[in-house]
Amino acid sequence: MSSTATEQTTGIKSLVDDWSADKQTFDVPWGKLMMWIFLLSDTFIFSIFLTAYMSVRMTTTVDWPPTSEVFSLMIAGHHVPLLLIAIMTFILITSSGTMAMAVNYAYQGDRKKVFVLMVITAVLGASFVGMQAFEWTKLIVDEGVRPWSNPMGAEQFGASFFMITGFHGLHVTAGVIYLAIIAKRVRNGYYEKKGYHIVEITGLYWHFVDLVWVFIFAFFYLW
Protein backbone atom coordinates (compact mmCIF):
# COMPACT_ATOMS: atom_id res chain seq x y z
CA MET A 1 0.00 0.00 0.00
CA SER A 2 1.48 3.36 -0.86
CA SER A 3 1.79 5.92 1.86
CA THR A 4 -0.26 8.47 -0.03
CA ALA A 5 -3.25 6.14 0.00
CA THR A 6 -3.07 5.55 3.77
CA GLU A 7 -2.67 9.20 4.63
CA GLN A 8 -6.08 9.98 3.24
CA THR A 9 -7.97 7.76 5.66
CA THR A 10 -9.26 9.20 8.90
CA GLY A 11 -10.58 7.92 12.23
CA ILE A 12 -10.14 4.31 13.30
CA LYS A 13 -9.39 3.32 9.70
CA SER A 14 -6.30 5.57 9.80
CA LEU A 15 -5.19 3.88 13.03
CA VAL A 16 -5.42 0.45 11.44
CA ASP A 17 -3.70 1.63 8.27
CA ASP A 18 -0.87 3.35 10.13
CA TRP A 19 -0.10 0.27 12.18
CA SER A 20 -0.69 -2.47 9.62
CA ALA A 21 0.35 -1.07 6.27
CA ASP A 22 3.84 -1.61 4.95
CA LYS A 23 5.06 1.81 5.97
CA GLN A 24 6.38 3.84 8.86
CA THR A 25 3.76 3.86 11.62
CA PHE A 26 4.08 7.37 12.99
CA ASP A 27 3.84 10.17 10.50
CA VAL A 28 5.80 12.67 12.59
CA PRO A 29 9.47 13.67 12.70
CA TRP A 30 11.67 11.22 14.60
CA GLY A 31 12.69 13.72 17.28
CA LYS A 32 9.12 14.63 18.04
CA LEU A 33 8.10 10.99 18.48
CA MET A 34 11.07 10.39 20.77
CA MET A 35 10.14 13.42 22.87
CA TRP A 36 6.61 12.07 23.21
CA ILE A 37 7.93 8.68 24.31
CA PHE A 38 10.19 10.40 26.84
CA LEU A 39 7.27 12.45 28.16
CA LEU A 40 5.22 9.28 28.43
CA SER A 41 7.90 7.75 30.68
CA ASP A 42 8.03 10.97 32.67
CA THR A 43 4.27 10.78 33.10
CA PHE A 44 4.76 7.46 34.82
CA ILE A 45 7.43 8.84 37.13
CA PHE A 46 5.31 11.75 38.27
CA SER A 47 2.24 9.52 38.57
CA ILE A 48 4.15 7.17 40.84
CA PHE A 49 5.27 10.09 43.01
CA LEU A 50 1.73 11.37 43.29
CA THR A 51 0.37 7.88 44.00
CA ALA A 52 2.99 7.45 46.73
CA TYR A 53 1.89 10.78 48.17
CA MET A 54 -1.74 9.62 48.07
CA SER A 55 -0.77 6.40 49.88
CA VAL A 56 1.11 8.07 52.74
CA ARG A 57 -1.57 10.70 53.15
CA MET A 58 -4.28 8.05 53.33
CA THR A 59 -2.40 5.69 55.65
CA THR A 60 -1.29 8.20 58.27
CA THR A 61 -3.43 8.50 61.37
CA VAL A 62 -2.07 11.98 62.08
CA ASP A 63 -3.76 15.01 60.52
CA TRP A 64 -2.19 16.27 57.32
CA PRO A 65 -0.79 19.82 57.65
CA PRO A 66 -3.32 22.38 56.36
CA THR A 67 -1.63 23.29 53.05
CA SER A 68 -3.78 26.34 52.56
CA GLU A 69 -2.32 27.84 55.75
CA VAL A 70 1.19 26.42 55.42
CA PHE A 71 1.60 28.05 52.01
CA SER A 72 -0.02 31.36 52.88
CA LEU A 73 1.81 34.65 52.66
CA MET A 74 1.55 37.61 55.02
CA ILE A 75 0.44 40.61 53.01
CA ALA A 76 -0.23 43.81 54.95
CA GLY A 77 -0.90 41.86 58.14
CA HIS A 78 -3.29 39.39 56.50
CA HIS A 79 -2.74 35.74 55.69
CA VAL A 80 -3.47 35.26 52.00
CA PRO A 81 -3.78 31.51 51.31
CA LEU A 82 -1.64 29.98 48.58
CA LEU A 83 -0.74 33.36 47.11
CA LEU A 84 2.76 32.46 46.01
CA ILE A 85 1.54 29.17 44.54
CA ALA A 86 -1.16 31.00 42.58
CA ILE A 87 1.40 33.43 41.18
CA MET A 88 3.69 30.53 40.25
CA THR A 89 0.78 28.85 38.48
CA PHE A 90 -0.01 31.95 36.44
CA ILE A 91 3.65 32.42 35.56
CA LEU A 92 3.94 28.86 34.29
CA ILE A 93 0.76 29.17 32.21
CA THR A 94 2.01 32.42 30.74
CA SER A 95 5.31 30.80 29.82
CA SER A 96 3.35 28.04 28.09
CA GLY A 97 1.49 30.68 26.09
CA THR A 98 4.69 32.38 24.94
CA MET A 99 6.14 28.98 24.06
CA ALA A 100 3.12 28.08 21.92
CA MET A 101 3.54 31.36 20.06
CA ALA A 102 7.26 30.69 19.58
CA VAL A 103 6.39 27.37 17.88
CA ASN A 104 4.01 29.18 15.58
CA TYR A 105 6.57 31.80 14.54
CA ALA A 106 9.20 29.10 14.10
CA TYR A 107 7.19 27.49 11.29
CA GLN A 108 6.71 30.93 9.75
CA GLY A 109 10.49 31.27 9.76
CA ASP A 110 10.49 34.41 11.90
CA ARG A 111 13.73 33.73 13.76
CA LYS A 112 13.83 37.00 15.65
CA LYS A 113 10.38 36.57 17.19
CA VAL A 114 11.10 32.92 18.03
CA PHE A 115 14.26 33.95 19.84
CA VAL A 116 12.54 36.70 21.83
CA LEU A 117 9.56 34.50 22.77
CA MET A 118 11.79 31.60 23.81
CA VAL A 119 13.91 33.90 25.95
CA ILE A 120 10.74 35.26 27.61
CA THR A 121 9.63 31.67 28.25
CA ALA A 122 13.01 30.82 29.79
CA VAL A 123 13.00 33.94 31.98
CA LEU A 124 9.49 33.12 33.24
CA GLY A 125 10.65 29.57 33.95
CA ALA A 126 13.68 30.86 35.83
CA SER A 127 11.48 33.14 37.94
CA PHE A 128 9.29 30.13 38.74
CA VAL A 129 12.34 28.26 40.03
CA GLY A 130 13.34 31.37 42.00
CA MET A 131 9.96 31.48 43.72
CA GLN A 132 10.18 27.80 44.47
CA ALA A 133 13.59 28.37 46.09
CA PHE A 134 12.00 31.13 48.17
CA GLU A 135 9.16 28.79 49.18
CA TRP A 136 11.56 26.01 50.14
CA THR A 137 13.66 28.41 52.20
CA LYS A 138 10.57 29.71 54.00
CA LEU A 139 9.42 26.18 54.76
CA ILE A 140 12.80 24.86 55.91
CA VAL A 141 14.09 27.89 57.82
CA ASP A 142 10.93 29.54 59.17
CA GLU A 143 8.50 26.66 59.51
CA GLY A 144 11.00 23.94 60.38
CA VAL A 145 9.76 21.42 57.82
CA ARG A 146 12.08 18.44 57.34
CA PRO A 147 11.63 15.31 55.21
CA TRP A 148 11.17 13.31 58.42
CA SER A 149 9.21 15.74 60.58
CA ASN A 150 7.40 19.05 60.77
CA PRO A 151 5.61 20.99 63.49
CA MET A 152 2.26 21.11 61.66
CA GLY A 153 1.14 17.50 61.39
CA ALA A 154 1.86 14.24 59.59
CA GLU A 155 5.58 13.54 59.18
CA GLN A 156 5.19 12.37 55.61
CA PHE A 157 4.31 15.89 54.50
CA GLY A 158 7.93 17.01 54.22
CA ALA A 159 9.12 13.98 52.28
CA SER A 160 6.24 14.19 49.80
CA PHE A 161 6.61 17.93 49.36
CA PHE A 162 10.37 17.99 48.78
CA MET A 163 10.28 14.95 46.53
CA ILE A 164 7.44 16.07 44.28
CA THR A 165 8.11 19.80 43.99
CA GLY A 166 11.84 19.15 43.93
CA PHE A 167 11.56 16.79 40.99
CA HIS A 168 9.27 19.20 39.20
CA GLY A 169 11.61 22.12 39.90
CA LEU A 170 14.44 20.05 38.46
CA HIS A 171 12.40 19.62 35.29
CA VAL A 172 11.76 23.36 35.07
CA THR A 173 15.46 24.08 35.57
CA ALA A 174 16.42 21.60 32.85
CA GLY A 175 13.76 23.17 30.63
CA VAL A 176 15.20 26.64 31.10
CA ILE A 177 18.64 25.41 30.05
CA TYR A 178 17.14 23.50 27.10
CA LEU A 179 15.20 26.60 26.00
CA ALA A 180 18.28 28.81 26.27
CA ILE A 181 20.35 26.46 24.10
CA ILE A 182 17.71 26.09 21.40
CA ALA A 183 16.92 29.83 21.44
CA LYS A 184 20.59 30.66 20.90
CA ARG A 185 20.82 28.19 18.02
CA VAL A 186 17.64 29.56 16.44
CA ARG A 187 19.09 33.06 16.52
CA ASN A 188 22.34 31.87 14.94
CA GLY A 189 20.43 30.28 12.07
CA TYR A 190 21.52 26.78 13.02
CA TYR A 191 18.16 25.32 11.98
CA GLU A 192 17.75 27.12 8.66
CA LYS A 193 18.55 23.92 6.74
CA LYS A 194 17.36 21.35 9.26
CA GLY A 195 13.93 22.87 9.72
CA TYR A 196 12.22 24.19 12.81
CA HIS A 197 10.64 21.03 14.26
CA ILE A 198 13.05 21.40 17.17
CA VAL A 199 11.12 24.40 18.47
CA GLU A 200 7.92 22.34 18.55
CA ILE A 201 9.79 19.52 20.32
CA THR A 202 11.16 21.94 22.92
CA GLY A 203 7.63 23.26 23.27
CA LEU A 204 6.31 19.76 23.98
CA TYR A 205 8.73 19.42 26.87
CA TRP A 206 7.87 22.84 28.23
CA HIS A 207 4.11 22.30 28.05
CA PHE A 208 4.58 18.98 29.82
CA VAL A 209 6.28 20.75 32.72
CA ASP A 210 3.25 23.04 32.90
CA LEU A 211 0.96 20.01 32.68
CA VAL A 212 2.64 18.29 35.63
CA TRP A 213 2.26 21.48 37.66
CA VAL A 214 -1.51 21.40 37.03
CA PHE A 215 -1.67 18.02 38.78
CA ILE A 216 0.68 19.03 41.62
CA PHE A 217 -1.30 22.21 42.17
CA ALA A 218 -4.56 20.25 42.39
CA PHE A 219 -3.42 17.26 44.44
CA PHE A 220 -0.76 18.69 46.69
CA TYR A 221 -1.75 22.30 47.32
CA LEU A 222 -5.52 22.34 46.93
CA TRP A 223 -6.60 18.89 48.11
Binding site: S14, L40, H207
Partner: protein, 106 residues
Protein backbone atom coordinates in the same frame (compact mmCIF):
# COMPACT_ATOMS: atom_id res chain seq x y z
CA UNK B 1 12.20 9.72 7.55
CA UNK B 2 9.05 11.34 6.34
CA UNK B 3 8.69 15.00 7.13
CA UNK B 4 5.13 15.72 8.13
CA UNK B 5 4.19 19.36 7.88
CA UNK B 6 4.72 21.08 11.21
CA UNK B 7 1.80 22.08 13.38
CA UNK B 8 0.55 25.48 12.32
CA UNK B 9 -2.47 27.13 13.82
CA UNK B 10 -3.49 30.77 14.14
CA UNK B 11 -2.03 32.63 17.12
CA UNK B 12 -5.56 33.55 18.18
CA UNK B 13 -6.22 29.88 19.09
CA UNK B 14 -3.34 29.97 21.56
CA UNK B 15 -4.44 33.28 23.02
CA UNK B 16 -7.94 31.92 23.62
CA UNK B 17 -6.61 28.80 25.34
CA UNK B 18 -4.21 30.92 27.35
CA UNK B 19 -7.13 33.04 28.58
CA UNK B 20 -9.16 29.93 29.36
CA UNK B 21 -6.29 28.46 31.38
CA UNK B 22 -6.04 31.70 33.33
CA UNK B 23 -9.75 31.66 34.10
CA UNK B 24 -9.69 27.97 35.12
CA UNK B 25 -6.66 28.53 37.35
CA UNK B 26 -8.41 31.46 38.99
CA UNK B 27 -11.46 29.24 39.61
CA UNK B 28 -9.40 26.52 41.24
CA UNK B 29 -7.65 29.13 43.37
CA UNK B 30 -11.03 30.53 44.42
CA UNK B 31 -12.11 27.05 45.55
CA UNK B 32 -9.39 27.31 48.17
CA UNK B 33 -9.86 31.00 48.86
CA UNK B 34 -13.55 30.63 49.70
CA UNK B 35 -12.81 27.42 51.60
CA UNK B 36 -15.24 25.21 49.72
CA UNK B 37 -15.13 21.87 51.53
CA UNK B 38 -15.75 18.14 51.17
CA UNK B 39 -17.14 16.57 48.00
CA UNK B 40 -17.88 19.86 46.26
CA UNK B 41 -14.27 20.93 46.83
CA UNK B 42 -12.79 17.70 45.45
CA UNK B 43 -15.05 17.55 42.43
CA UNK B 44 -14.39 21.19 41.55
CA UNK B 45 -10.63 20.73 41.94
CA UNK B 46 -10.72 17.63 39.72
CA UNK B 47 -12.97 19.28 37.14
CA UNK B 48 -10.74 22.34 36.73
CA UNK B 49 -7.64 20.13 36.77
CA UNK B 50 -8.87 17.87 33.98
CA UNK B 51 -10.09 20.79 31.89
CA UNK B 52 -6.71 22.51 32.19
CA UNK B 53 -4.77 19.32 31.50
CA UNK B 54 -6.98 18.56 28.49
CA UNK B 55 -6.52 22.02 27.00
CA UNK B 56 -2.75 21.90 27.43
CA UNK B 57 -2.43 18.44 25.87
CA UNK B 58 -4.94 18.95 23.07
CA UNK B 59 -4.10 22.49 21.97
CA UNK B 60 -0.68 23.56 23.28
CA UNK B 61 0.85 20.15 22.65
CA UNK B 62 -1.16 19.81 19.43
CA UNK B 63 -2.34 16.31 20.22
CA UNK B 64 -5.83 17.08 18.91
CA UNK B 65 -4.36 17.48 15.41
CA UNK B 66 -2.13 14.41 15.43
CA UNK B 67 -3.08 11.13 13.80
CA UNK B 68 -4.91 8.53 15.87
CA UNK B 69 -1.90 6.18 15.77
CA UNK B 70 0.10 8.69 17.82
CA UNK B 71 -2.79 9.82 20.02
CA UNK B 72 -3.56 6.27 21.17
CA UNK B 73 0.12 5.48 21.72
CA UNK B 74 0.34 8.41 24.12
CA UNK B 75 -3.02 8.27 25.87
CA UNK B 76 -3.53 4.52 26.33
CA UNK B 77 -0.49 3.55 28.48
CA UNK B 78 -1.25 6.09 31.25
CA UNK B 79 -4.60 4.33 31.77
CA UNK B 80 -2.65 1.60 33.60
CA UNK B 81 -1.84 4.24 36.21
CA UNK B 82 -5.53 4.28 37.14
CA UNK B 83 -5.18 0.62 38.10
CA UNK B 84 -2.19 1.46 40.30
CA UNK B 85 -4.09 4.30 41.96
CA UNK B 86 -7.08 2.05 42.63
CA UNK B 87 -4.91 -0.71 44.10
CA UNK B 88 -2.92 1.70 46.26
CA UNK B 89 -6.08 3.40 47.50
CA UNK B 90 -7.52 0.07 48.64
CA UNK B 91 -4.24 -0.90 50.28
CA UNK B 92 -3.78 2.49 51.96
CA UNK B 93 -7.29 2.29 53.34
CA UNK B 94 -6.51 -1.10 54.81
CA UNK B 95 -3.23 0.08 56.38
CA UNK B 96 -4.94 3.11 57.86
CA UNK B 97 -7.62 0.88 59.37
CA UNK B 98 -5.00 -1.51 60.78
CA UNK B 99 -3.12 1.35 62.39
CA UNK B 100 -6.24 2.65 64.04
CA UNK B 101 -7.22 -0.84 65.22
CA UNK B 102 -3.87 -2.14 66.46
CA UNK B 103 -1.79 0.93 67.31
CA UNK B 104 -4.58 2.47 69.35
CA UNK B 105 -4.26 5.83 67.68
CA UNK B 106 -7.22 7.94 66.71
Amino acid sequence: MSQAVGQQHPISVYLKIWTLLFILSTFSYLVDFYEVQSYLRWSLILLFMFLKAGLIIAIFMHLAWERLALIYTILMPPLTILVLIALMAVEADYINLSRILYFKVV
